[in-house]
């Protein structure tokens, strides 16, 4: 996949971050100069409730090896309870991804607050490692052909 001999394959991870919490969390990780693997591509949304499941599916079709849905902790959403909807939709996505024949590790839901920079960095490391183990998404392979 366009990489030279000996070079390690780097997964592409798409992360949706809510403006008020997880995006600020990602920012905090940077301010604290924590190592975050360069595998992640962040899309900022105003709230995790704005993440239409269609965005997640399109991310996978476009070649993401994993999609990370993140937002404020339950109870902390800045739009009352929109992240409850996120959690609800995630349950649907989880079943969908599994039935489609993708590995469950290609989809993640995590709550990250603005002060949880270390947690954010740790999460990206964890996801990257898991994806490296299972390899590129079959959806992406098809897409490359």
């Amino acid at each position: 996949m366009g990489k030279s001999e000996g070079e390690e394959w780097e997964p592409k991870i798409l992360a949706f971050c809510c403006n008020w919490c997880s995006y600020a969390g990602a920012d905090a990780a940077g301010l604290e100069r924590r190592q975050v693997p360069p595998t992640i591509r962040v899309i900022r949304v105003m709230c995790s409730g704005r993440i239409d499941p269609a965005f997640v599916l399109m991310g996978l079709l476009e070649g993401a090896d994993a999609v990370l849905v993140t937002g404020c902790h339950i109870g902390d959403c800045h739009y009352v309870n929109a992240n409850n909807k996120t959690r609800n939709r995630y349950e649907f996505l989880k079943e969908f991804v599994d039935e489609l024949g993708l590995e469950p590790e290609r989809l993640w839901l995590r709550w990250v607050s603005a002060s949880e920079g270390p947690l954010f960095a740790e999460m990206v490391r964890e996801v990257t490692e898991k994806i490296k183990k299972i390899g590129p998404s079959p959806l992406r392979r098809e897409w490359k052909k």
Partner: protein
């Protein structure tokens, strides 16, 4: 509030033309005549292979449409949508028609108060094209000569009209036909909703004593009771208590059919034996011929989206995705609400096995949710809920 009756049309003509006792037709006719409903939606027979929905306020047309068409696998849901917003309508509903209407009501597309669902028990329908093949290959009849069909006692009867006007009847056991891939549609073979419990009445022949020309009627709602009362009071219909033995018998046959359906479902599920990656290959391969015509969405009795629906809107023919956005969204969108009626597969111009695909995705989700669509209008589609019942429990 279940109550069980045997009922029949008092008008001899209706009773003769009706599939069983002509009760359904007589009830609709009397409701029209007494202004109990503004229109009836019935199915007109063009041939044994074609039935077309007719919306009418003419009792004569309703009378002409008496009888059951097994080769007309239509779903009546979408024909009700526009009309029932303002006017009262009565119609026969197979379980999948009734469930579709309930789903439309949940999406505020119809006002249930305006709809009188005279449910029909349903053992299943046949796909017209397969039925023609069946007539030619198994019954050795010219498909165009077949003028009547009937399903009874586990057999499919075809009656052909020979030259000189003579009628010839042939039958073959359903089981035998289905082992060879003919008989009922896949969706019907694997359907466990045989009695339309979400309708207002449930009518059928199960539980009717042998040889009697009567319709077995279960009253399910107050609306059902009202339309029945109207039919009796206006002298169109006679009823008697259903015998206990009949009620038992009906239950037993239903249970037997459900068991058969479950076993068909397992037998026809070619995906269940595949590995994770095998499943993936199967879905990619099965969906790759899709031309995104939107027909499956158009007929879907559950979907209430308009022409600018998300599935079509987010789909771009220039994308070279392994599976198109249209298919991803159609499947995702229906995971909580698919009623497995198989309309999508019937209209698919490239023969994608959509019945199986939609069932695979939706059935596991519905099991996970403990939710059965099309049954209770008070239960909202879980995808629209803020909080799932079980996620609250999980806290």
């Amino acid at each position: 509030m279940s109550k069980y009756y045997l009922a029949w049309a008092k008008d001899e003509e209706i009773r003769k033309k009706g599939a069983n006792g002509g009760f359904v037709t007589a009830t609709l006719v009397s409701a029209l005549e007494n202004n109990f409903i503004d229109a009836a939606l019935v199915v007109a027979k063009k041939s044994v292979y074609e039935g077309i929905p007719v919306l009418t306020s003419d009792p004569e047309v309703v009378k002409e449409c008496a009888g059951s068409l097994h080769g007309a696998p239509i779903n009546l849901t979408k024909y009700v949508v526009d009309y029932a917003a303002k006017k009262r309508i009565g119609l026969p509903t197979k379980p999948c028609d009734a469930r579709g209407i309930i789903e439309q009501a949940k999406r505020r597309q119809v006002n249930l108060d305006n709809i009188f669902m005279i449910g029909l028990n349903c053992g299943g329908t046949l796909h017209p094209l397969r039925m023609r093949e069946m007539a030619a290959d198994f019954y050795e009849l010219d498909p165009d000569s077949v003028v009547k069909e009937e399903i009874k006692e586990g057999k499919i009867f075809l009656v052909s009209e020979e030259e000189g006007g003579e009628e010839k009847e042939k039958w073959i056991k359903i089981d035998e036909l289905e082992q060879k891939g003919y008989g009922r549609r896949d969706a019907c073979k694997s359907c466990v909703t045989k009695i339309p419990t979400s309708a207002d009445l449930a009518c059928g022949n199960w539980g009717v004593p042998q040889g009697e020309k009567k319709t077995f009627v279960e009253v399910l709602t107050e609306k059902g009771e009202a339309i029945l009362k109207n039919a009796i009071d206006s002298g169109y219909v006679d009823i008697e208590e259903a015998p206990g033995k009949g009620i038992e018998m009906r239950k037993k046959i239903e249970a037997g059919m459900q068991k058969l359906a479950t076993s068909w479902k397992e037998r026809m599920d070619e995906v269940s034996t595949l590995s994770r990656s095998g499943r993936f290959e199967f879905y990619v391969d099965a969906l790759k011929n899709c031309i995104h015509c939107g027909a499956c969405k158009e007929v879907c009795p559950v979907c209430a989206c308009e022409a600018d629906s998300k599935c079509l809107d987010m789909n771009d023919e220039r994308d070279s995705y392994a599976i198109s956005m249209y298919n991803m969204l159609r499947i995702f969108h229906l995971m909580d609400s698919c009623i497995h009626c198989g309309q999508c597969e019937d209209v698919c111009p490239v023969d994608i096995p959509l019945t199986l695909i939609q069932r695979r995705f939706s059935e596991r989700m519905q099991r996970h949710l403990g939710y059965i669509p099309g049954m209770d209008v008070k239960e909202k589609p879980p995808l629209y809920e803020t909080e799932l019942r079980w996620s609250a429990e999980a806290e």
